[in-house]
Structure formats: structure tokens, C-alpha cells
Symmetry: C2
Subunit: 403 residues, 2 copies
């Protein structure tokens, strides 16, 4: 277990943040966020593998190569994706205005957007709001930033933790948003996650920990099977904790990575719990896989089954749909070796059902938090995927998102 | 266009059929079907690629190797899948009883099941019903058979056509069922399709035409992205038309294959139109792909997007979701070359939106039949996928399928 502390991205030393309504959202909720470090940071990031990428993804993927950054500016309510050359121009304008307001080079600022695709940004509104956004940066402003990146999310998602590295306290803080178009594959979904830390760590090592940490966390959640054009996880490390530099493979490295993973898994679960229309939180554990790849593939396949997700909504313990989704996962599966558990109840082994009192299974599926386990009986690897049920409410939310 | 004639599987010479209620379905609707040819037939089939296969799929896949068959017995309301060794035993019992009643060898009978997974068949009920089922086989019984294979389908799906082969009339008839767990990959979905023909054609040539014909038809429909454990297409050719044998590559072969394809595409469309909860029929055309594989992959990816399907339900022309699903299809995509059309309205080119009167786009998406086209601008291959919208009704149907 990690040692959680209060706050989010402004918990680590030297970070301030802010968020406000700039004029993007019809609801007039906060839609523009800024995270700033008083010192230049080591920077790392992972991005959507969708071939249709928003301009922010393309811009950041280039910038992250050089390994440094000092601020992140993010808007919600508009993805600025498939908005042509002028969309790229708008991202550049935002960066230029932020650079001027923050008095730092444009190249040290990262950018993110989330929301509707194919609609031009109200760039004037955004540009005029940036000076005020920058002026009122504060540690207390972390919450405003957490709010300003939300779209259909109901709750802010922030977390912070503290670890000890060679006698020094090192903090890691993060905010995230999720809700819909969530089916990460590397780090996808219109899933944004911004992490700050005061750790001393270079960008290559930081990138290594991020790559590893997304695999069993953000890449294992699915809400609707749709992979976004705008997903990103960005991490800034400003070194102000003054710890002995964290080097790859060291004990400190493993502690840092473990903490980052726990932060990610916590945020991933918050995203699923706050998913569009979700009424239940579901963990799909796969054990006994031949290899890690099969374990993840199987868990994601089961967690993505629309039919299972409907059954979960209706509290109908229709585990045949689990078996079917294991079968089409692409993993090495032998139906005669497979076991399926609903909660702690074994329902399938030796290729056939176990006689179970249906009322017991109904009770398992009626819970708000449901655990499903598939043992492939083929090896020793395991993985867990996180998902939610599929409700008529999800359909309603997404049948009128744009209008 | 093919020359359609009345009827279904009993339209070709020498075929009779029947269907009745045997005691599987709570609704007491017909649930057991039999199709019989008075002569032994060349037989071909394609089956689900799901690694969790129902016993009927495993049994048929073995039998089809020998290239002959004379009857098909099929039940609905229970998939007899993941029912262990006793499930296999039940399939064998059904075959043995049918063989006795029909007075033909058991090895000449194919078997199919569709319905809930993981529940033992009421084998006694089925066994007692088979003699009566066989006794009342008739040409008029084709409709009963078409009814008896349905699950959540509302309408029977049958079609028949006639072609001329060397001066002889050759007929092809078919019945099918669809509705849910539909996402064929080879030939999947709890999608059953039984085809009869009086053509003279050997089983290898027949198999060739079937393999080719499923690719752009059944394999291009998707209802919910879930691939079934029980899908199959079975074709029986009894040779009673007395035509000159259809050989691979001949003019007759192409005519036969073209007709089979048209029959499949007609049935595929009927399945989508009758899909669980569907309120709209949607064609996703992909043009300008580098190769056929990319064209199909892209069309299937767009047609499978839950988010797009919700937008279709809500008549919300949110084409950004089309762009996103093209991007994660895995096909070679350049967002700057891609064009998207809603109906005949071009909405995206050069990486950005075209200014369109939103009321025009709303009208396109408000229709009951909607065409979407994605031009990848990369080559000359194309493909079309067929899908439906995603409604709260779909969730309701599938939240209480088992109970």
C-alpha cells in the first residue's frame, strides 16, 4: 500500500495550478486548466495509438522527445481533433499565449484537449482567458485544474502519495479524467492523466517507469471499446525533493514505479466508477494464462463484451457470455481447462456448468462491485481488467453528446 | 440482381423441412427444425472461429470433412455450449434419434444449436419430439423450420433464387437467424444459415463458393461486437436439378457464387434490420483502401463503434466518432487524406470539417436507413459493413436474456 497524502498535482514541491471557465462549455463549467512548475522538469508521456490523433497529441509527442517541460495547459469540452490546419494553428496559439503569460519558452509547455471531435476551438475565448489563468496559479488551484479537465465525469479525480528516497520525502501527485471513449491500448481513451513529482529523476528513467506503469493500469480499463484520439499521460518531475537521483533498476526506482502504478490503478478505478451511465464496478481477473499477453488480452476481451456488460446491468449471471468472450479474445484457450468464477462461486469447470443455486449467483451479480475470475488453466500469468456495466443511461448520454 | 423465387430451403427440388415446439423455450414458440433431402448431398460449411465452440460446431466441423450430408437438425433456445461431456452426449442423442426417424445414417446428419450458453438441453423433450418432426416433413414445412431456428429475432428470414446452368433451372434456398451476439469473423455470430440447392456441384467446389461468399456478407455484419460460440453456415447440394456439374472457375461457377453471395447479403441485411433493439439500418462503405483487408477492417471498426451506434440512435451526426473508429481500426490511415460522408454530404476532408448546415446532417441521421462512407484516399479497394444503432432497448433485452 502507498502512503497517500492530501491533494493532487500541487502536492509535490514547486508546483502550482489553476482552472477556470474560458468559454468552451455550454454548461459554463470550468474548461481550461494549467499546471506549472517553478523549475524546469524532466518530462515523460504516453499517447494514444489511434492513427487519428488530435493536434495536442502530435505536438506533445514531438516535444516529449527532448525530455523537459515546465507546464501543461489543457482544455475540456473540445478535442481539437480533425479540425484541419487551423486546429493545429489554434494549439500553437494557446501555447504561445501561455508562454507569454508564464514567461517561459513555448517549447517547455505541453498541451492537451478533450471533448467533441471535428469542431473548431473558440480560440479567442481561450486566448483571452490564459493571462488570468496564469496569474492566479496557486497550490490551492490544484482542485480547479482537476475540475477543468472533466467532460462527462461527475467527480474530480486526484491523488497524491509520499515515498522516502534516501531519507528525503518525495511526492507524486496526479489528476485525471475519464468517463467515455475509454478503451486504452498503450495509453488511450479520452483519458487524460497529469502527474507531477518533486523527485530527482531523468527523463529516460521517468519514461521507463511510465511505460511500465500504464500497462496493468490505464491500459486495462475499458468503458465502451472506443479508443480515443486524444489520450495522454504526462509526467513532470522537477527534482525539488533533492533526493539522490533515482536510477533505473535501483531499489528507489522500483519503489517509485510501484507508487506510480498504484496511483494509476487508483485513478483508473475512479475513472471506471465514474464512467458514463455506469451503475456497477467490475473487476475481471484472469489467472493461469500461458503468458502475460494472453492474460491481458483475455481480461480485456471479457471486460469489453457488450453482452456481458448488459447482463451485469440487469444482474443476470449469464456467465456463458464470459465463456464466449474468452473464446474470441485471441488468447490460447482450451475450454476444457477453463474455470469461471462469479465472485467466489465456481460456475464452470471441465467444459460444463456446476449446479448452483441461481439465487446465490443472482446475489453476486446484484452487487455494486463485482469480481469475475477466469482461470485459463494453461500457465502462471495473470492480469486484471476494470470495467463497468452497460446501461440504457450510457446510450442516452451518448446519443446526444454533441447536440 | 438475382432472380428471386418464393420460399426458402424447400424451394430447390427434393428438399422438405419442418419445425415445431419441442419443449425448450419458455415462450412455447417453435424450437426444433429439420431440413431433409431425399438424396444424399454434397455438403459444405463454415463455422465460428471462437475457441469456445458449442458441441454442434465441433461435431459438424468433423463431419463436413467427408463432404456429404442429407439432413440438418437444429434447435433454438439453448446453445448446448459449455455443457461439458454430457452436452456432447446430448448432441449425439439428438443425431441418433434423428437418424432412426429419418432412416438414414447418423453420419449424414448435421446439427446446430442457438440460445443460452451453459445450460443443459432438455434432451428428453427433444428426443420425444423428433419422430413427429421427421414424420411431418413437407415442402410447406420450410416456413416452420425458418421459425424454429429463431431466438430474439422478430421475423423469419428466408430467401430463394433460381439460376440457369446449361439450360437447366437450378435453385438455391436459404433460411437464417440473427439478432444478437453478432460479430462474425469467418462466419460467426449466433448466426445460423442453412442453404439448400439442387445444383450438381461437388463438395470442394461448394466449399470454395461458401468460403468466398461469407467474406463480404455475413462476415461484414456486426450487431454488438460479440462473436458467438455457435455460428455456422451449412450448405447442402443434392444435384437433383440435373445440370452439367459446376466446376471451379467456370462461368456457371461464378454465376452460382454470385447468387450465393446475393442470398447471403440479403439475409445479412435482414439480420441487421431485425437485430435486438435496432431502430436503424446502417451501411458503412469504405472506399480508397490500400487493400481489401484494410477496407474490411475499417468498415467493421466503424460499424462496431458503440459510441457511433449511440449517436445513430440519437440522430446525432457526431462524425468525429467515425474518424476515431477509423483511426483505431488497425488499417493504414492518413487522417489528412481521409474523407467522410454522411449520406451524400461530405463532412470531413483535408483533416478538418466542412462547414455544413447542421440541420441537413441531422436529417441524414434521422433517417431509418443511413449510409456512411469513409474514403481512405490510399488506394482502390472497398468494402461495406452492415450494422444497426444501439438503443436502450438493446441493453434491456440483453440485461435479462437468461432469466
Amino acid at each position: 500500500m502507498i502512503q497517500k497524502i492530501r491533494g493532487g498535482v500541487t502536492a509535490p514541491k514547486g508546483f502550482t495550478a489553476n482552472g477556470l471557465y474560458s468559454g468552451i462549455k455550454k454548461s459554463k463549467k470550468k474548461d481550461l486548466a494549467l499546471i506549472y512548475s517553478e523549475r524546469k522538469c524532466s518530462a515523460a508521456g504516453v499517447f494514444t495509438t489511434n492513427k487519428v490523433k488530435a493536434s495536442c497529441v502530435v505536438i506533445n509527442a514531438g516535444k516529449i522527445q527532448k525530455g523537459t517541460a515546465q507546464a501543461i495547459i489543457a482544455n475540456s469540452g473540445n478535442a481539437n481533433c480533425m479540425t484541419g490546419k487551423s486546429g493545429f494553428g489554434d494549439s500553437k496559439k494557446i501555447l504561445a499565449t501561455a508562454a507569454k503569460s508564464l514567461k517561459i519558452p513555448e517549447k517547455e509547455i505541453l498541451i492537451a484537449s478533450t471533448g467533441v471531435i471535428g469542431k473548431p476551438l473558440p480560440i479567442k475565448n481561450i486566448s483571452s482567458a490564459i493571462p488570468l489563468l496564469a496569474k492566479n496559479l496557486s497550490r490551492a488551484g490544484g482542485k480547479n485544474a482537476a475540475q477543468a479537465i472533466l467532460t462527462t465525469d461527475h467527480k474530480i479525480k486526484e491523488i497524491a502519495a509520499e515515498i522516502q528516497v534516501g531519507g528525503r520525502n518525495v511526492r507524486i501527485g496526479a489528476i485525471a479524467k475519464g468517463a467515455g471513449m475509454i478503451h486504452p491500448v498503450m495509453a488511450h481513451a479520452t483519458m487524460l492523466c497529469f502527474v507531477t513529482t518533486d523527485a530527482v529523476i531523468n527523463s529516460q528513467v521517468l519514461q521507463k517507469t511510465v511505460n511500465e506503469s500504464v500497462e496493468d493500469t490505464f491500459n486495462m480499463i475499458t468503458i465502451d471499446g472506443d479508443t480515443s484520439t486524444n489520450d495522454m499521460v504526462l509526467v513532470l518531475a522537477n527534482g525539488m525533493a533533492g533526493n539522490k537521483k533515482i536510477v533505473a533498476g535501483s531499489k528507489d526506482f522500483h519503489l517509485f514505479e510501484k507508487t506510480l502504478k498504484e496511483i494509476f490503478v487508483n485513478l483508473a478505478k475512479l475513472m471506471v466508477k465514474d464512467a458514463e451511465g455506469a451503475t456497477k464496478f467490475v473487476e475481471v481477473g484472469v489467472t493461469g494464462a500461458k503468458n502475460k499477453h494472453d492474460a491481458r488480452k483475455t481480461a480485456r476481451s471479457v471486460a469489453s463484451s457488450n453482452l456481458l456488460k448488459c447482463a451485469l446491468y440487469g444482474s443476470d449471471p449469464n456467465w456463458g457470455r464470459i465463456a464466449a468472450s474468452v473464446g474470441y479474445s485471441g488468447a490460447d484457450v482450451d475450454p476444457w481447462k477453463m474455470r469461471i468464477y462469479l465472485g467466489s462461486e465456481l460456475v464452470l469447470q471441465n467444459g460444463g456448468p456446476l449446479k448452483k443455486d441461481i439465487s446465490i449467483l443472482n446475489r453476486v451479480f446484484a452487487k455494486k462491485e463485482i469480481k469475475i475470475r477466469v482461470d485459463l488453466g494453461q500457465g502462471k500469468e495473470n492480469a486484471t481488467a476494470y470495467t463497468c456495466d452497460f446501461s440504457p443511461e450510457y446510450v442516452k448520454i451518448n446519443s446526444a453528446y454533441r447536440t
